[in-house]
Symmetry: C2
Subunit: 121 residues, 2 copies
Amino acid sequence: MAAPIIKSKQAQKEVNGIPTEVVCTEFSNYIFVVLTQYGKIGTLISVTPDSRSNDISTPSFSTKVLLGKDEPMTHVCAKNLGMFVSQEAGSRPVLLGLALKDSSIDAVKQIKEIIKSCQIW
Amino acid sequence: MAAPIIKSKQAQKEVNGIPTEVVCTEFSNYIFVVLTQYGKIGTLISVTPDSRSNDISTPSFSTKVLLGKDEPMTHVCAKNLGMFVSQEAGSRPVLLGLALKDSSIDAVKQIKEIIKSCQIW
């Protein structure tokens, strides 16, 4: 059996006292990232860089809720985290599973550090 | 660091000469299964048991394409594979990523065997 083509990495850490799990899986067309404090896959959001923004300035991203509650805050949080992953991964689209109890700025900052430790791209 | 709550298993095998990857991840509310012969996450489909079918007879399942092409064959294939996973996993909803070159009856049968080897539930 050959080495798996699909790379996956997982980490668990406390964020402000809440056990937080991060699962990153790299597919050829998407980076799949689950950030969960409930064990659930949570709200599933696609975060894709807009193709029209070809200039070197900050790229724009589109967010779309595929599964779960479609709330404004979900888009804000998904755009922030998805952009972070996408920019680290060469502007690839990101599929994000979000199930956070605490999505404060401070928590998101710590979660980004966990994502960094799960870097597979 | 505690043991990860989220269990994941992965396998790679040739199905009729085509390298096939299976990734199974268990979340509390969904079993996430990717079946790919392209390395892509592919079409994303939710396969959920219908709550109204409470009798002991064959349960019915609903399929919904969340990402990718919504084609009749996708629903047929997703229902077949999703039901297989769900029934093995105590009627839990399944989130399925499908990127198959060969979705013949014979290929699907072999893919089910790979899924069995990735059983995490």
